[in-house]
Symmetry: D3
Subunit: 264 residues, 6 copies
């Protein structure tokens, strides 16, 4: 049987066969929230969908049993609600969704799950959900926020200073320039770098020593934080390719059971 | 401003402007569940996504302020869980999702919502959700299950007898033949007509006098109910076009406030 | 053992015996809400109690094992709360009640349940409850809203036009004239016919193509919708007798297992 | 306006007037649970309904604004579930019901509520509910378990020793002999006196120093505890009349605001 | 193995051994709420902690297997929230905490639990929690509010009249004078005796015939109720020693299984 | 007014004054879970309580308005439940507790909260709770896990290799040797270093790229992970002092509002 990318493009009988091969099922989770004056609301969902599509396709093409679920296209965005159009779930709703999906598949015998997150605000609820699934479904789900896979590459290639990559920033704008340039309002790019301090920074790659709740209006009058004026399609393409490669590698290792080993 | 189809393809500032025009926001809800040996799991979601995309596009093109949300791609499918691959939400989870989405948009000033359902099993939870939104958000949402808009046309054109249109049936198979023929396993079509009785029938257009809970395994050893052997791309196209036209008309009437009037 | 009507009029040991006979247990659900200037708040509960009492009595008298629970006397009436005196449950509360009752009896071995509804506003929550029971209790409950059993007779005998039978209407007023004439304020009858439109009508027998949430104040300044001036005790009696006969027949068929068959 | 007993026997407009008189609204709560070999499942509900009906009627007849709601006919009976036929709510369900009812009426302006309990197992959930209502509805509900109003009279008139009045006991059996003798299986009366110890006793009038959870099967192989062989219709009548008088007096004092005073 | 007082002062392996001895595990529950001008917020928690520490120590020293959990230091204090500093849980939160703790230990094989309460406002939620644990964990928890163990001694020794022992009163102030005199503001003692009436009194040892919800501001402009001017360290010491002795005796009887017997 | 350490050692009126000074309120959160053969169950709670007591005392002594709440002594330990004695909350319970406490104090006007966590397993639930408080209480809580404040010092002083500091490890054992040597079973120390891999490691200071749910039995047959054989009281003391100093500094900066600034 030729492997397809989407769980939904199989029939039930075909899935019964796929499940026997011990596949990794991938669930992308994004957001539908404001991203400043220059990016569209679909930014997080769009990015996470494109990278998982490519990554699952790549893993499939090397014979690794895996499949992609459609994205959960909205997440936890209460802190962005003062900017128009933003849609948010309660944390309990997102948690319930992830639990129900993984629980359903666990009932059919799926053992390996990779939840790929594309929105910082989802982290607490997704980690909470993963712990619920682990505690009650007898499977061991893995959660990754995509940029954590490419910290080194981003550090090497970024043009903005610390505080320039956060939300609607050099990184997200570059990724959208690569994936969907029609969603970038190029005439509205402006820098809004917020460095933070020794305890906490909104910078995506900060190692924060404390966690805080910040309504976004306090960090930005425009809605975004970071420096989208430094964004380029080339940086976007480089990040995109690196994330896809890393995700495909992670899926492969999960499917082979290597994630359980010290020398993985 | 040119109207786009997707809510997510606007920036926050653009949506602030769109909201001033009193748009109809459309939320499609599908399912990810088994559809017999011949149809893929994405059937309901795929259909409801394609029809809402066309319908919103059509309404937009005539200047009606409206926008489409991405689909809730899974629904209530507990009664299908004995068939592999099916994913189900608890009813409380689906209800919470719909509530959170509409509540978020209501906070931004959106007043008009059309929830378009593509799966029979979702009806109770969606109606429940609509009532929660109505009671707590000071908006008046409208819920439609797409086939209820084209009962007459289907009655006129269908080839199968009563009981032939239900689940993975003449209608759904025809729609998929039109929209995504690669998802139809044509060599695996077989009839499984279930007429029901004077109280209850699984037929999609039955006027049931009672409601019952039926695990699908009791209705079908294959997973589907109805007669997909009667399905044709032509019937699929005719239904598709009619649903799109009716949805666009409904969106238009909602936006103009005509749904409040007796002579609408 | 002589069969009694009420579950509560048996001792525990007697019920252990009754349960061995595979009885149908009937749960009536009403409402305690305003019904315009001319009908009392108990209207829905009173009607559904009287019809189930008669119907269970009738079935019992022909030797069919069955029993009646007391009514859930209040339901979902949030949309009537702007009219004084109305009591409403949250939907989650009604759902929990029905679940707990049926689950309790399922634990004792009861397999057959008929929930008889007398209030339109309860439909979503009751259907939701039935689906929860079906999914978690290994029984197959049946739900009926009483007027759905006598659509033909009502169509034949009604005097009011379309829109005349809805809430505190020709039908409900006639039923109360038959059952409890002291609850009808005959000097306060006035017509308030609301026809609705091609999508939705409050008429009880409308085949609505969409579902909407409507605060009742929008439909009626008086509280009722329909034409109680056309009500007569004779029409009430005819409907009452027909509903009772149909319910007794349904209970009988359920007890014999005929509802599972196509030729029932 | 002549005062009626039942809230449900008024129209909405009539209730708007009644509410202006600052009525006491009475909510009886019973149970549907096993009561040994000799009493029917409706025992608690039947008793609490009859006493509240008489008491509200008596208060009404002296011009005190008050009204009776239908009973919540089932309560918390998990500890009786090993005896057939028993129906139980989860505690959260009963709490939600009482909250919803009192909250609804508080929204209409009702300020005075008397919840009359007839089942020991309901006490925790009802007290919990009363505290929720008090904390969130700006009214001050009163809760009474009926036998607490007549401790002195019972002590004077009872024939059974300590441990003889508990569940399906001298008191409940006597009350049913008075109210509904057809529900007493007189040939099946047997004593099952459980005295308990210095910490805890199932005796209805014990001043227990600790609270415990006891599955009823541990206290009684028959289902009841106490001595129904001592029951008489005369004792039942005396208790009934005393409870009614005390309840009517309590309603009267509540309505006049005397319960707030030290010299009430 | 020498018995220690605290569950937390054992290692996991040591607890595995202790559990084999069928220990009584004691959970103290207090409150963090205002106690008038003269007592600190820790009053209830401090008292209940000191008495359980002494009592468990005493039982341990006589070879009874038992252990103490740290206190739940806050409880249900919504009715005190108009006085600054008070912290309250929702009732559902306290119930969940007690349930989770007892359920966890029940999973390890602990069978005997004694919940020792030090705050009147916790009673409904704790009784509710005990019933949940009893219904779902196959253990039989015991709940005691400490002053119920020493009613006779208090009656004999108290100086204040009825209404003088309630909240921040003669009894609590005396106990704090004995346990932690630095927490008593001796210059701010004033009497605020509230007798109540025949139905309800805030007096700690009243046999109330009804339950009511009372915001504390209605009972006291100062925050406390009762007569702390009558408090003495000697009374505090006498009560303290009596409670400790009674608790140690109760733990001993529970561990030996005597609480199940009539002659305990 | 002399500042005290504990919130509970003030009266209500004194707290009303303290709140006017805009204090930082500190809430320690620990766990009651197995820590291998050599450490007691109170390890996390004991540590977090001692460090917060010292830190608040230190800040108080320099005139910074602040106060300490008693610890939440148990947390999320489901993954440790296969080791005897462990107590766990559901995540929803811990979240509710933190929410209720902070919400109560926010109602009195407290604006600044520092939640100090001492258990890795609590992170998701605490972050979730912080986000709920931030979204609903109009305050901005700060969350810190204590070891994140002293990463540099630990790196400098530790003797164990990577994987040696995790759970019941060099760090926790050293801290207990300093704080409570009687809780360390010195004869039972043994190394169980788990390095993990490039994606995930149980090492406390690992920068994990993915999150996983791991039942602890999979990581350790003994219960602990890391190398307690390298533990010394001196290392414990150094870490303890550094954490205390950092916490006091953080409290001071929070109280002065410096955490909002880039140059803090």
């Amino acid at each position: 049987m030729e492997n397809k990318i989407y769980w939904g493009s199989y029939t039930s009988n075909e899935l019964a066969n796929l499940i026997k091969e011990d596949p990794v099922v991938v669930l992308p989770v994004g957001a539908y929230e404001q991203h400043g004056p220059h990016l569209t609301l679909n930014t997080d969902t769009d990015i996470v969908l494109e990278i998982t599509k490519e990554a699952v396709g790549k893993a499939c093409s090397t014979g690794i049993p895996c499949a992609l679920l459609p994205p959960l296209w909205l997440g936890i965005s209460e802190h962005h609600m003062s900017f128009s159009g933003t849609i948010t779930l309660r944390q309990s709703t997102l948690t319930a969704m992830v639990f129900d999906i993984l629980k359903s598949l666990a009932r059919h015998g799926v053992k390996k799950f990779l939840v790929v997150n594309g929105h910082g605000g989802n982290m607490a609820a997704l980690r909470y959900a993963i712990d619920e699934v682990g505690a009650h479904c007898e499977v061991e789900p893995v959660l990754v926020t995509y940029w954590h896979l490419v910290a080194d590459l981003v550090a090497r290639l970024r043009k903005s200073e610390f505080g320039g990559i956060s939300h609607g920033c050099e990184l997200e704008t570059s990724l959208k320039m690569h994936i969907a340039p029609e969603d970038v309002r190029k005439d509205l790019l402006r820098a809004n770098v917020v460095k933070g301090n020794e305890y906490w920074s909104p910078e995506m790659f900060a190692s924060n020593r404390v966690a805080m709740y910040k309504p976004y209006r306090q960090l930005s009058e425009y809605g975004h934080v970071g420096d989208p004026t430094k964004a380029t399609p080339d940086f976007g393409e480089a990040v995109f390719k690196a994330v896809v490669a890393e995700l495909a590698r992670l899926i492969t290792k999960m499917q082979k059971g290597d994630l359980e080993n010290e020398n993985c």
